[in-house]
Amino acid sequence: MDFGLVELTPAQQAFQREARAFFDEIVTDEVLEEERETGAGFNLDVHLALAARGWLTPEWPVGEGGAGLDPVCCRILHLELVYHQVPRVTAATTRLVWQAAERYLADPRLRAEVKAGVANGTVRMCLGYTDPDGGSDVAGARLKAVRDGDEWVLNGAKTFTTGAQNCQYTFLVTRTDPERPKHRGLTMFLVPLDSPGVEIQAIRTFGGERTNMVYYDGVRVADRYRLGEVNEGWTVLRGPLDEEHGMAARDRLADLSMGQGFLRTLEPAFAAALTWAATPAADGTRPADDPAVLARLGQIATGYEAALGTPGPMGRVKGAETLIAKSAELIDLVGPQAVLQPGAPGLLGDGALDFAHRFAQGTTIYGGTVEVFRNIIAQHVLKLPRPSYPGAKQFLGRPR
């Protein structure tokens, strides 16, 4: 057990100063404002500036386009990215897809090309998992891929392909054999998004993010972009899914909770509420002078701290649901000022309360709904009997 402060070496301290100065410079108000408006989770200049330092792939050797950072510096870099609110959704999906591409791209030249692009920022990748009407049942994908000589022809659509407008490739789940059991008829591709027949249509969420519907109309993709064997897509897919679902091991510096990325949104909101509580009104009284206000702040903070330490898939559920519950409670407590939005005078903490409450609602869905995670916990942690559904021989789990 160890919750201690990490003592930094002089080199690590220098790195921390360097990173902070770097982000202070490149994450300008314009960058943040643009991100607020577009909700893209991506800024090309910032992305390329990160790439220039090898910080998109910080743990990779310098010779391969990385920065050769040790785990402590990687953690510092991660926390600085969070602290500076660097738009980084597309950077994250790119890393996720790379894991599968590295392992399953058969063509070494293409693999090397993608790898170099991931590091230098010119190759960015997004997730093409969800069919329209498909919900969480990724294995039920219907987008069709039909072989035609050395090519495949794709027809169908994917929704929630976040970042597609800024990516070169999408990690696409296709149905190559509708006759086989649903998990056995999938094939994965790394589809170039500049292929003729690809159309990207923006979808905005009330959390402020932009995602996309992507249509595939007779898109032809060469067989070299296939990942893994034909009809073995489920195996290929499960790597990143497991990563997203946090079944993978984590080191002792990393966030304990898979939901911490969500929970962090609560921090500025809570800080805004604390500031509100400590600010005297015209008559000199502070909300914090009321023990009932303090008690509610204490309750909310307790929920946050409890969620922070909840590991793995449990932390995923707890993080999302804590963010939803506590952001709402903060708004109830603070009142009118809490629902102001950017541009309003008297905005508390940059609108963090309003933002947290809206953003929260997507977090029970991203990368699998909380129900998917509850099913995982029921079956893999509690070992409860698996429910049987007519349409599923398996439920996002391991093949039997």
């Binding site: 969800t130 009407d133 919900g135 969480s136 049942d137 039920g140 929704t159 929630f160 979808i203 905005r204 969420t205 009330f206 959390g207 995602t211 015209a282 008559d283 909300p287 009321d290 009932a292 206000v293 939803i324 709402a328 708004i331 109830d332 407590l333 603070v334 009142g335 009118p336 000022q337 809490a338 629902v339 102001l340 939005q341 950017p342 541009g343 309003a344 005078p345 008297g346 309003d354 409450h357 809206r358 609602q361 997507g362 029970t364 869905i365 709904t369 129900e371 509850r374 559904y389 007519p390 349409g391 599923a392 439920f395």
Partner: protein
């Protein structure tokens, strides 16, 4: 055991009440589809809709005939507010109706302009956020021990906010008319704020019911794993719980309205309780519906997003941090 009171326990609408509810349900369904709600963003005010609603007598319906009203009741008002909420109508219903009642109670003729109420005491030079003040130049507020009607030249500047309501920072101006003073001023103001909370509670309950209908419809048709999503207990139970919370909040709103109308002052905590219950039903219910619709519910094109944003957007625009303390204090005081 605790002693009992022998009361009737009947929330069923009688014929007249039913007629009021149905008339306004029909009105809002017809006049206020979601396209109207969207078109009114971000200010949250549709003047044509409001004009038609005023024509239906909504502002004065609950006033005594002597004050130009129809002798309607608080019960009628919560029914109207509930239907307005169900369709997210962008109109200053609670503010204007309560302000109008307050003017009538203070024997002051109401004007033709939209009027609203400042919920916190007004201090010259100090701004407060006032619901609907971005469309109302007339604001009633408590200043010192006086209840004052402040009449500005024009409404205050709208501030962007989550629920797209006409919220504004407002401060008392020079054009003031005293409506009442002393303990009566405070009492009138407190009643008006309680009425505002009760009508908002009614609107939030209707809002949640409107959202639930969208969620139920979605899960009936969407399939996963070869079964309708809505047949899974993990999906169905939260929707069931939403229905339960709506039923609970609605009848509490009804009971509070009935007591306010027929035995005013006997259960002063009921409007605060109703507001608390309706707010929590709306918070839970709209989040549940959004989630039941999966990624789709999280997109701005889904109507459920409109409901979600107004759940907090309508309830947070009044200060309520001390409501429960007041309820507790009233209950302890009732012991003696």
């Amino acid at each position: 055991m605790v002693d009992y009171e022998l009361r009737r326990n009947d929330p069923a609408l009688d014929e007249d009440e039913m007629a009021v509810r149905e008339a306004f349900a029909e009105f809002f369904t017809k006049e206020c589809p979601s396209s109207v709600v969207r078109a009114a963003e971000p200010l949250g005010f549709d003047s044509a809709l409001w004009a038609r609603l005023l024509e239906m007598g909504v502002a004065t319906m609950s006033l005594p005939a002597a004050a130009g009203g129809d002798g309607g009741t608080m019960i009628d008002l919560v029914l109207v507010a509930g239907e307005a909420g169900r369709r997210l109508a962008p109109v200053p219903l609670a503010s204007h109706v309560c302000a109008t009642r307050l003017l009538a109670a203070a024997s002051t003729p109401q004007g033709t302009r939209i009027c609203t109420i400042a919920h916190a005491p007004a201090v010259p030079g100090v701004a407060q956020l006032v619901p609907d003040a971005a469309i109302a130049a007339d604001v009633i507020a408590l200043t010192g021990d006086e209840l004052v009607l402040y009449q500005g030249e024009e409404p205050a500047a709208h501030v962007p906010n989550q629920g797209s309501t006409p919220l504004a920072w407002w401060q008392p101006g020079a054009n003031r008319t005293t409506l009442a003073s002393g303990p009566r001023a405070a009492a009138l103001h407190e009643i008006a704020c309680a009425e505002w909370k009760l009508l908002t509670a009614a609107a939030l309950t209707g809002l949640t019911d409107g959202a639930l209908a969208l969620g139920v419809e979605f899960v009936k048709t969407r399939e996963t794993m070869g079964v309708p999503v809505g047949s899974l207990q993990g999906v169905a139970y939260p929707l069931v719980d939403t229905a339960i919370e709506i039923a609970a909040a609605r009848n509490l709103v009804y009971r509070a309205a009935w007591m306010m109308q027929h035995e005013p002052g006997v259960r002063p905590e009921l409007p605060l309780m109703a507001f608390g219950a309706a707010r929590s039903a709306a918070t839970f219910g709209t989040a549940t519906v959004v989630h039941a619709q999966g990624g789709l519910g999280f997109t701005v094109e889904a109507d459920s997003s409109l409901y979600f944003l107004r759940a907090k957007g309508w309830s947070a625009i009044t200060e309520s941090a001390t409501d429960m303390t007041r309820v507790g204090a009233q209950l302890v005081a009732g012991l003696g």
